[in-house]
């Protein structure tokens, strides 16, 4: 953090209990899946070095407990986030319904400078499971209503779309940081993320 060259991107993953936050993070970073992850208590993070747009960055991914009452302690963990990843379980409609409150809660607690432009990415996880509770279309509509949040349908278990999703997350986080670093004028508008992902069933994706 001391070095000027090194870029640290802070990403926070939020969503209901059991939607797969820890599994997604671990699949992305360790390329492994386990049924035996314990429910997250408190908070933890993992880091990964990667190249985004020819720049070496360290992505720090924060994983927190999903039960609502534990969010009151979240403020310390949300602070300074460059991107917020919202996760729901495509087989569990309740987890989709909570997305609004997760997003609102994050904006309140993290209080980013420009809440309306703060980058979120939505992940519909567990696409390997049946039956579907939330259609792709419904998720896409929600994303559009929130200023075109990029949307990925993932399976942490089968490593489906996880890499792509996090690449997009990293880019969004980086652009957010650049804006905050007064590079703002180069990106007057929210980056449009409208290209469909190459993976099946997925809707909006990262423009990059």
């Amino acid at each position: 953090m001391a070095s000027n060259k090194k870029i640290l991107l802070k990403v926070v993953i939020l969503g209901d209990s059991g939607v797969g936050k820890t599994s997604l993070m671990n699949q992305y970073i360790t390329k492994k899946f386990s049924n035996q992850y314990k429910a997250t208590i408190g908070a933890d993070f993992l880091t990964k070095e990667l190249i985004v747009d020819d720049r070496a960055v360290t992505m720090q991914i924060w994983d927190t407990a999903g039960q609502e009452r534990f969010q009151s302690l979240g403020v310390a963990f949300y602070r300074g986030a460059d991107c917020c990843v919202l996760v729901f379980d495509v087989t569990a409609p309740n987890t989709f319904k909570s997305l609004d409150s997760w997003r609102d809660e994050f904006l309140i607690q993290a209080s980013p400078r420009e809440p309306e432009n703060f980058p979120f990415v939505l992940l519909g996880n567990k696409v390997d499971l049946e039956p579907r509770g939330i259609s792709t279309k419904r998720a896409q509509q929600w994303c559009q209503s929130k200023n075109n949040i990029p949307y990925f349908e993932t399976s942490a278990k089968e490593a489906l779309n996880v890499e792509q999703a996090f690449q997009c997350i990293a880019r969004n986080a980086l652009s957010q940081q650049n804006q905050n670093d007064d590079l703002y004028n180069e990106f007057p508008d929210q980056i449009k993320l409208s290209q469909p992902s190459k993976s099946s069933g997925s809707g909006d994706s990262c423009a990059c």
């Binding site: 209990s17 049924n35 035996q36 429910a39 208590i41 408190g42 039960q67 009452r69 009151s72």
Partner: protein
């Protein structure tokens, strides 16, 4: 422990104890290091203080000069030792002979006196930790602090607390004995030490040993003791001044006295547990039992039994017959509650979102709780089903609290150990009674705990506290997991058993788990500060400690920390309050209410008993 100790139970043991003064018979052992025991004979219930020398002697010049006054009178004898066989091999002191004892200010010596104030034995504790012995004695005996010297503890005879019964039963057939007893009672002008209470059922023993056989029985005369002690003290103090004797200082900070070692004791064994019960299966001395568990834990095979008491499944004073009734009732209640949710129709659940959400959360967590343990591994595991049923039934048991993440972590070890659904449910419910505020919807309980942790840390280790403060970590969030599930995620299962049962004893203070937290943190201090860790690094470092901690070492240090804090001259009421120590705002209200010492004593015993039963520590 000793070959000639048949049918005797070891209640306490501690090594590193030097014999400094005793009958001249034992002169060959003076200044030798040995092990001190408290033993009890199963048949007679007679208790003894025993001291056995180690084979290796620890004579040194500095010791000799430091303690020269002790040896002076025997110097000649020591020059020409007797053949070893002609002398007793170890010291065995009948506890009934001991009428008072004195703990030095530095907690490194203990002296036992007889009824005339004569020194029976004087021991020096190499590690300065005579608090363990003191605590054990307090568990066994009722004592009161001498009015003239707060370091002298006078043994209140058990007869005292039974005096009501004596009066009604008219046990004293000759009036002389009776007057001795009542004179003895009246001689106490001070409030007895409130925590001390012992076995109630040793009337015969007590009378027999203290009052009946002696031709001229003497009630305790405090004057006599104090005079002797004064003389004795002069010697001690002059020698104390001669050389510093801070043994084994592990940690010191400007505010606190030195950290002493409190090595763990032996686990409570099956035989000991059996001996603690009366003929009807009641535990006679709850505080002593808890103290033993605090010091050494419970033998693994016995946990299944004792945990039911620790977790309020059975009251400590329940008889065998009571327990049969209680078990029947608890089984019935459990299955009634289980039926309540098991028999809900699908449409009922459909329209009962609060319950449905809780049940689904339970399902989610059960499938990811300790699945690496063979006990919970694999598909269609019956134990997982039991865990799920228990948690769902708990939702019905306490709907306001319901199910909150972390609860499955608290249940898992209990179910693993008890292997019975009904037992595990009620023990879990008992555990939840203690920790339910951890799961408050507004997290108020956790916030209080984190803030109390910070207060204790700031008091005991201001350097570390201020470092954490500067790193935006003064909120102690990085300890959240430790506190929420009482270190369940930090240790392997058997260490969790050990740590929990220690915490459940409520010894030596309230919120001992916060001192455990500090004991862990202070070991990380050099890394935190040396590596200039910030908020993120501290959290990561603490999370990564999981599986790398030594439970015994941590308990030793946490206990040591407790005594450091307690003995600190700058102890604040804020800290006292957290640890459940008496506050010092008001001076002791009733000093000499001479007429109803008996009532006061009984009230204190009741209070101590209440405290023992209601062991909530948050």
């Amino acid at each position: 422990m000793e070959d000639n100790c048949e049918g005797c139970m070891e209640l306490f043991s501690q090594d590193g104890v030097l014999l400094k003064q005793a009958h001249s018979y034992y002169i060959q052992y003076f200044n030798e290091s040995g092990t001190l025991y408290i033993t009890e004979y199963a048949n007679t219930k007679d208790r003894f203080i025993e001291w056995k020398p180690n084979s290796v002697t620890v004579h040194s010049d500095s010791h000799d000069s430091e303690w020269s006054f002790v040896n002076a009178i025997y110097r000649g004898e020591q020059m020409s030792p007797q053949p070893p066989d002609s002398k007793p091999k170890y010291i065995k002191l009948d506890m009934n002979q001991v009428r008072s004892f004195k703990v030095s200010k530095k907690n490194d010596t203990m002296t036992f006196f007889d009824g005339k104030g004569e020194i029976l034995c004087h021991f020096f504790f190499q590690h300065g930790n005579c608090f363990s012995l003191f605590a054990a004695l307090k568990g066994l005996l009722k004592t009161t602090v001498s009015k003239r010297d707060k370091n002298i503890h006078i043994i209140v005879d058990e007869t005292l607390q039974l005096n009501k019964s004596f009066a009604t039963l008219d046990l004293f057939q000759d009036s002389q004995s009776a007057s001795i007893v009542w004179g003895f009672v009246r001689s106490f002008q001070e409030k007895p030490v409130e925590t001390a209470f012992g076995a109630f059922a040793k009337i015969g023993n007590t009378i027999g040993n203290n009052f009946m056989p002696s031709s001229s029985p003497q009630p305790i005369e405090e004057e006599v003791i104090t005079n002797d002690v004064k003389e004795y003290e002069r010697g001690v103090e002059s020698s104390d001044g001669a050389s510093p004797k801070d043994y084994e200082i592990i940690h010191s900070s400007p505010e606190l006295p030195s950290r002493l070692q409190y090595p763990r004791g032996n686990p409570l064994s099956y035989d000991q547990w059996t001996a603690l019960q009366d003929s009807e299966g009641r535990i006679e001395d709850v505080e002593y039992t808890k103290l033993h568990i605090f010091r050494g834990g419970i033998a693994p095979s016995l946990r299944k039994v004792v945990w039911k008491y620790m977790l309020d499944f059975y009251p400590w004073n329940s008889s065998n017959a009571d327990r049969k009734t209680i078990l029947g009732k608890k089984e019935q209640d459990y299955y009634d509650m289980k039926l309540q949710w098991k028999t809900l129709k699908p449409w009922q659940l459909q329209n009962f979102v609060q319950l449905r959400d809780r049940l689904s959360l339970v399902e989610k967590d059960v499938t990811r709780t300790d699945r690496t343990l063979p006990f919970y591994a694999g598909d269609n595991n019956k134990n997982l089903q039991a865990m799920s049923d228990i948690l769902m039934t708990y939702v019905m048991h306490n709907f306001d609290l319901g199910y909150v993440q972390g609860m499955s972590d608290l249940l898992s070890p209990i179910l693993y150990l008890l292997q019975n659904e009904v037992d595990a449910f009620w023990c879990f419910a008992g555990f939840m009674e203690r920790v339910c505020t951890n799961f408050d919807a507004d997290q108020a309980g956790m916030k209080t705990q984190l803030s109390n942790l910070y207060i204790l840390l700031k008091f005991s280790n201001p350097t570390l506290a201020s470092y954490l403060d500067n790193q935006e970590s003064g909120n102690m969030f990085f300890c959240f997991r430790w506190l929420l599930v009482l270190f369940k995620r930090e240790f392997e299962l058997h260490d969790v058993f050990r740590l929990w049962e220690v915490v459940w004893t409520n010894h030596p203070c309230n919120n001992f788990h916060l001192l455990i937290s500090i004991a862990i943190l202070e070991k990380q201090q050099s890394e935190f500060i040396g590596e200039e860790m910030g908020f993120n690094e501290i959290l990561k470092h603490v999370n990564d400690l999981s599986g790398k901690l030594d439970v015994n070492d941590i308990l030793d240090n946490a206990e040591g920390l407790y005594y450091q804090i307690r003995e600190s001259s700058q102890l604040t009421n804020e800290v006292r309050q957290i640890l459940g120590l008496p506050l010092i705002a008001e001076s002791s209200p009733k000093d000499d209410s001479t007429d109803s010492i008996e009532n006061e004593l009984m009230a204190n015993v009741d209070k101590a008993y209440e405290n023992g039963l209601h062991t909530s520590y948050f």
